[in-house]
């Protein structure tokens, strides 16, 4: 009856819709796949997803510059590989006998991506730009210790420290802030803390096309001093949502998913079980630990701490919460890190033993109650966790259940990340999660956390009778140039901490990688903040 009018109305609206879509579509200055695909049909491309835009690619700053892009474009003087420091832009180096003066021989055949030469003067210029913005970088141990930077000639750079500090080279191997920008990349006033003119580095890749918040395409740096990358392009698509990343990968739009927390453990398992892709887990990169605050009277007692350590089944937690994608941890630091391979027998899950330790400590379970008491006070403890971190939440709930079986009432409190950091700094918690940094930051970053207040570790260890001795050994270990002495000192610190059960290892975190079957030559990088793109190939 009203078909014709209805049709006309519908047609009118459809036309309107189409016009609006086309008009809006035209205004997006389209640089989609179709335009750059022409003529590059045979180009080997690796496409990956990243949750955020790669940022301004400033080598000397942090957020929003992404480690991914920084590590592709810029290089360090030395790199971290399998626990050792290896030459990169510095061919070799010497350390003065007292451990304060590093003299680097700069690789002479290195050019920046604009064709200009990489020189010791530029090393100094970059280093000074970093030091000018010192306040931002004090977290990195070597920075506040730098006394002098000198370019002795074109290929010799000298770094003088105020005091000996063994991890200096490890700190120079991190992705930011000590990496090198070409002359033309500096802003007019030379102050890179406000921005860079353009991202000119010596790394294997250059940024060739960039669409903010959408995608970035990297191509090999024609002047690269090392072996050329095997693929012609790396496309980094910005996909903020984890589920979308998985769907995009399943559709075949992505070749690789790599990066911490990029997809959920469930999604990883699902992709693994599909059998159509390659899924890989790295060696342990860091440890998730529980920190028991000894400044709380209840936790000051070694027996209580040991009971808590024995009173939960790590293996079950790793299987149940981390779906087996993390590994049960026996040690505070993964033993594959430098100086971390210690000989201590790990604590075993033993509820009976845990119960008897608590009994010995005077915490008795009255009949008909679930919570132990001592002098009328219940054995109640509070565990704080970052509420946005679903793994921590599940771990907290598991611990609550496990410890209630030994008569401990664990209250779990999820807080905002910044509140979490504030409470940790102020030492306002009984129990807390603490993840180690991983390579190349550990073990020295962990040791710093044990010595220095404010990281949520040192203060919690304050009631240990041997805390002063631990601190002394760490300071000695940091300063000595004798590797053997350091191995012994750090080994002794880690052994004591392990025996004191104030830091309880739970699991080793691993990197996950999922890629399409035509991707080859994938290797996990040793440095936690690096990405495996250099050296990768495609069939």
């Amino acid at each position: 009856m009203f078909a014709s009018r209805g049709k006309r109305l519908l047609q009118g609206l459809l036309v309107l819709l189409a016009i609006s879509m086309v008009a809006a579509g035209c205004s997006t200055n389209n640089t989609g796949n179709s335009s750059d695909a022409a003529g590059e049909q045979n180009a080997k491309t690796i496409t990956m997803a990243w949750p955020r835009d790669i940022g301004p690619m400033n080598p000397h700053l942090y957020n929003p510059s992404q480690l991914l892009a920084q590590s592709m474009i810029y290089e360090p003087l030395v790199s971290y590989k399998d626990g050792k420091i290896v030459p990169t832009l510095a061919e070799s180096w010497t350390l003065s006998p007292e451990g304060k003066v590093y003299t680097f021989k700069i690789r002479s055949n290195v050019k920046f991506s604009d064709g200009t030469a990489f020189t010791a003067q530029l090393v100094k210029r970059n280093m000074d730009a970093v030091l000018n913005n010192m306040k931002m970088h004090t977290w990195l141990g070597v920075i506040p210790l730098i006394e002098k930077t000198e370019a002795l000639d074109d290929t010799t750079f000298q770094l003088t420290l105020k005091e000996p500090y063994y991890p200096a080279l490890y700190d120079l191997a991190v992705v930011r802030p000590v990496r090198f920008l070409g002359e033309a990349g500096f802003p007019e006033d030379g102050d890179t803390s406000k921005g860079v003119a353009s991202p000119i580095g010596t790394g294997p890749w250059v940024l060739s096309t960039y669409k903010k918040d959408e995608s970035a395409t990297f191509t090999p740096n024609p002047y690269y001093w090392g072996e050329k990358p095997k693929v012609d392009k790396v496309v980094v698509k910005v996909i903020p949502d984890a589920e979308t990343r998985v769907l995009s990968f399943e559709k075949g739009d992505l070749d690789l998913i790599y990066g911490e927390g990029l997809i959920s453990y469930d999604a990883y398992k699902q992709l693994e079980s599909a059998g159509k892709y390659v899924t890989k887990l790295s060696d342990p990169i860091a440890t998730r630990n529980l920190v028991l605050n000894t400044m709380n009277g209840k936790l000051a007692d070694l027996k209580v701490r040991q009971a808590l350590s024995m009173g939960f089944d790590k293996e079950a937690m790793v299987e149940g919460v981390m779906l087996g994608l993390e590994e049960k941890a026996d040690y505070i630091l993964p033993p594959n890190l430098p100086y971390a391979n210690i000989k201590v027998s790990p604590v075993k899950y033993d509820v009976e033993q845990a119960n008897s330790l608590l009994d010995e400590a005077g915490w008795k379970l009255a009949s008909g109650t679930n919570v132990r008491e001592k002098d009328g006070e219940p054995l109640e403890l509070e565990l704080i966790y970052d509420k946005a971190d679903l793994t921590q939440k599940a771990m907290a709930e598991t611990l609550q259940a496990e410890w209630s079986a030994i008569g401990v009432n664990l209250k779990i409190t999820g807080v905002e990340l910044t509140v979490y950091i504030q409470r940790r700094k102020a030492n306002e918690f009984d129990i807390n999660f603490y993840s180690t940094f991983g390579a190349p930051y550990d073990p020295h970053s962990f040791m710093t956390a044990v010595v220095q207040q404010g990281f949520g570790v040192s203060d919690t260890l304050a009631a240990l009778p041997m805390k002063a001795e631990i601190d002394k050994k760490i300071k000695e270990g940091m300063a000595t140039t004798d590797d053997q002495a350091r191995t012994e000192l750090f080994g002794s610190v880690l052994t004591t901490l392990q025996e004191q059960s104030s830091i309880l290892p739970i699991s080793y975190i691993k990197q996950i990688a999922v890629y399409q079957k035509d991707v080859t030559d994938f290797n996990f990088p040793s440095n936690r903040d690096e990405y495996p793109l250099y050296g990768m190939d495609k069939k």
């Binding site: 009203f2 997006t28 940022g55 698509k237 769907l247 995009s248 559709k251 950091i421 404010g454």
Partner: protein, 313 residues
Amino acid sequence: MGVYIGKRVLSIIPIILFSSFLMFVMIRVGPVDPAEAYLAAAHIHPDDEVLAAKRHEFGLDQPLLAQYVQSVTRLLRLDFGNSYISNMPVWEEVAQKLPATIQLASASILLALVVSIPLGVLSAIYKNRLVDHVIRGFAYIGACVPVFWIGYLLMFFISVKLEWLPVEGRGSLQHLILPSITLALWLIAIYTRLLRTTVLEELKEAYVRYARARGIKERVILYKYVLRIAIAPLITGLGMNLGKLLTGAIIVEQVFSWPGFGRYFIEAIVNRDIPVIQCYVMLSVCVIVTSNLAADLLQLFLDPRIARKGRAS
């Protein structure tokens, strides 16, 4: 009528001022220190000296009142400050991202109208028949299923399984289809039900009976009289829903990697990027207030009795 319009337009000012105050207070009383959040996002250990320097840089060491006065005076100049994260002027960044959001929102509104008008009318005409049940079922589902979930379903079936459309991104018309369907679904659900109700009510009115008695064709009654009146609440609905559309766009943009304003806002929340959050909230308030006003005024032209009622009260 002029007085009524004047009053309505002026009433916007206190609403916007009050919103700005409320927003300021809510952000400041929150437990999160933006300087600390910034450092956490950058993986920098927040030692006291660094924190103090950042707080000073962000102006957070000023007294609260000074901060508020400063933010209002800047607001009046459309100066939302620089983003804590990118260090770029917020307004510039927003201006870059707005076209994508406007494109998505307008495509969704058009799609919603195109689909819901015929559905609503059909549902009313075939009241309690199979067509009506199907349409109402569809509207019911559309209204209660979460937006992001619909987004994933569409992606999974249309993009991954059938490979008809891209999963995410922006750039071509194809990219626009799934996000705008996702964003339009709940609007379709609301409008369809709204239109069904109003059409049914109008059909009971006396003028319809007279028109029928005069032998005017059913089709003419429906399109010439009923629909014209029944569409009016839809316009109000649209005005009221524009704000909700913006919040819906946040989720859709996130799910479909649509580089718009909503996604920018999500990142700002994660990073506690206060200038961006302020800009977003103020813009949303302005959009909601002005779209409500526009809808009211439009109604006024469709039905001038409103102004008389407004003046009488």
